[in-house]
C-alpha cells in the first residue's frame, strides 16, 4: 500500500482560501459590528431588570455568549485537528492555530464578566461553587497549554501534529473534567451557579442573547479569517526565504 500524501505546497490550495476570505472579510466585519451594536443596545436598554439582580443581570449578555464561544471554538479546534490528522486537510493546522488565541480570549472574557456578575450576589470576586465557571477556568488553562505547545516546538509540521493530538486528548477529557468539577461541588456548597431569577430564560432575554451569540460568532469568524490569512502569508514568506537560502 503506497503512502502518498496529497501534495501540499503552500502556494496551491491556500490560494483559493485567500481569494474567498478577502471577499468575505469586509462583510463579516461589518455584520459583526452591526449584530453586536444591535445586540448590546437591545440588551442594555430594552430588557427589563431582573427582580433579584436588577441591572447587573445585563452582564450575562456579554458573559453567556462568551462562555459558549470558548467551548465552541475549542470544538472547532478539535474538529480541525481531527481533519488534519486523519484526512490530511491542508488548512486544518492553520485553522486550529489561528482559532486558539481567540477561544482563549473568549474564555477569559467569560471568566472576567462572570466574576463581575457574581460580585454583587456573592460578595466576592470569585466563588468556587459555580461549576461552570470553574470548568471554564480549567478550559482557559487547556487553551494556554495548547498555545504554548504550538509555540514551543520549532518544526511547524511537528508542532501542528503534536498540537492536534493534544487538542483531541483535551476534547476527550473536557466532558470528564466538567463532570468531576460538578461532582466536586456537590459536597462543598449549594449550587451557586449564576442564574437569572427564576432559572428559566424569559423570552425577553432570549432574543438579545441570541443576537449577541450570533454577533460573537461572526466576530470570531472575521478575526479567524484575518488570523488565518496572516498565518498563510507568514508561511509563504518563510518558504520564500528558505528557497532563497537554498
Amino acid at each position: 500500500m503506497a503512502v502518498s500524501m496529497t501534495r501540499i505546497t503552500v502556494l496551491a490550495n491556500p490560494k483559493r482560501f485567500l481569494d474567498y476570505s478577502s471577499v468575505l472579510l469586509p462583510w463579516t466585519g461589518g455584520l459583526a459590528f452591526v449584530l453586536l451594536a444591535v445586540g448590546l443596545y437591545w440588551a442594555l436598554f430594552e430588557t427589563p431588570p431582573d427582580y433579584q439582580q436588577h441591572e447587573t443581570v445585563k452582564i450575562m449578555f456579554v458573559h453567556v455568549p462568551a462562555a459558549w464561544m470558548g467551548i465552541f471554538v475549542y470544538s472547532l479546534i478539535a474538529g480541525a485537528s481531527l481533519g488534519g490528522l486523519v484526512f490530511r486537510h491542508p488548512l486544518s493546522d492553520v485553522a486550529a492555530k489561528s482559532a486558539a488565541p481567540l477561544g482563549a480570549a473568549f474564555t477569559a472574557l467569560a471568566l472576567v464578566t462572570g466574576s463581575l456578575w457574581g460580585r454583587p450576589t456573592w460578595g466576592t470576586y470569585w466563588q468556587w461553587g459555580d461549576a461552570r465557571l470553574v470548568s471554564e477556568l480549567l478550559l482557559l488553562f487547556i487553551y494556554f497549554g495548547y498555545i504554548a505547545l504550538w509555540n514551543a516546538i520549532d518544526d511547524p509540521t511537528r508542532a501542528a501534529k503534536a498540537a492536534a493530538v493534544l487538542a483531541l486528548v483535551g476534547a476527550a477529557d473536557l466532558p470528564i473534567i466538567h463532570f468531576s468539577v460538578e461532582w466536586w461541588n456537590t459536597l462543598h456548597q449549594p449550587n451557586n451557579t449564576l442564574v437569572l431569577g427564576g432559572g428559566g430564560i424569559d423570552p425577553a432575554f432570549l432574543w438579545p442573547l441570541l443576537i449577541m451569540a450570533l454577533g460573537y460568532t461572526v466576530l470570531f469568524v472575521w478575526l479567524w479569517l484575518l488570523r488565518m490569512r496572516t498565518e498563510i502569508f507568514e508561511r509563504r514568506a518563510r518558504a520564500l526565504m528558505m528557497a532563497k537560502g537554498a
Binding site: 480549567l138 487547556i142 497549554g145 505547545l149 501534529k161 503534536a162 493530538v165 477529557d173 473534567i177 456537590t186
Partner: protein, 221 residues
C-alpha cells in the same frame, strides 16, 4: 524474557542508576509537605483539614518530575528509533515505559504518603483511603504524563510545558482522589473511589495509543 519485559527492566534500571527516579520524587514530596505549615501555620486542626488535598496535589506534582525525560532521553540518543523498529509495538513500548515510571516514581510516593500524613495530622480514617486512592490514581498520572512526555520530547527544557499541558487534564484524578480521602474523613460517601478507578482504567487503557501516535509523529518529522 519478552521484549516488553526487556524494555520495562531497562527503564527501571536506568531510573535507579541515573541518580534520580524514586529518591528525587520522594524528596520533593517530603520537602513540599514539610513546607506547608510554614505557609499556613502550625495549627494542627487546620492542617488536618487540608491534609488530604495537599497530600494529593503534592504527590501529583512529584509524580510528574521525571516525566519529561520519559521519551526525550531515548529520542536524543537514537534509542527511540531502535525501539520503534523492534518487534515491540510502540503502544506496548509506551505501556512498558508508563509502567516503569509508575513503579519507580508513583509507587514510592504512595508508600511514603502515610508518613507525610503524620506530618500534616491527617485524621485516622484518612490513611487507608489516601494509600488506596494514590495507588489507583497515580497510574493515570503516568498515563497522561506519558502522552505529554511524548508530545514534548523535542522541546529543550520541555518540563514546564509538560506540566502545563498535563495538569489540567488530570484534574479529575485530583478531584476524585482527594475526594476519596475527604469523604472517608467526613463520612460522606459519594463513590469517589469508584469514579477514580474508572477514570484511571480508561486513561491507562487509552493513553498508550495517544502516546505511541505522538512518538510516531515525532520520529517522522
Amino acid at each position: 524474557m519478552s521484549a516488553f519485559q526487556a524494555l520495562l527492566y531497562r527503564d527501571m534500571k536506568l531510573a535507579f542508576r541515573a541518580g534520580g527516579g524514586a529518591s528525587l520524587a520522594m524528596a520533593f514530596f517530603g520537602l513540599v509537605i514539610s513546607l506547608q505549615p510554614f505557609g499556613v501555620g502550625p495549627d494542627l486542626m487546620l492542617l488536618s483539614r487540608i491534609a488530604g488535598g495537599v497530600l494529593w496535589v503534592t504527590a501529583a506534582l512529584a509524580a510528574m518530575l521525571s516525566l519529561d525525560r520519559l521519551f526525550q532521553a531515548d529520542y536524543e540518543d537514537g534509542s527511540l528509533d531502535i525501539i520503534a523498529l523492534s518487534p515491540l509495538s510502540l503502544e506496548w513500548a509506551a505501556t512498558a515505559k508508563m509502567l516503569a515510571h509508575w513503579l519507580t516514581t508513583g509507587l514510592p510516593l504512595v508508600l511514603l504518603s502515610p508518613l507525610l500524613g503524620l506530618l500534616l495530622n491527617l485524621p485516622a480514617p484518612g490513611y487507608l483511603p489516601l494509600i488506596m486512592s494514590l495507588m489507583i490514581g497515580t497510574p493515570a498520572l503516568s498515563g497522561i504524563g506519558a502522552i505529554g512526555a511524548a508530545l514534548t520530547l523535542s522541546i529543550r527544557r520541555g518540563g514546564l510545558i509538560l506540566v502545563l499541558i498535563v495538569l489540567p487534564l488530570i484534574s479529575p484524578t485530583l478531584i476524585f482522589g482527594a475526594g476519596t480521602v475527604i469523604d472517608a474523613i467526613e463520612g460522606t460517601g459519594r463513590g469517589a473511589f469508584a469514579l477514580l478507578a474508572a477514570f484511571s482504567v480508561a486513561v491507562v487503557g487509552l493513553s498508550p495509543f495517544a502516546a505511541a501516535a505522538s512518538v510516531r509523529l515525532n520520529l517522522a518529522n
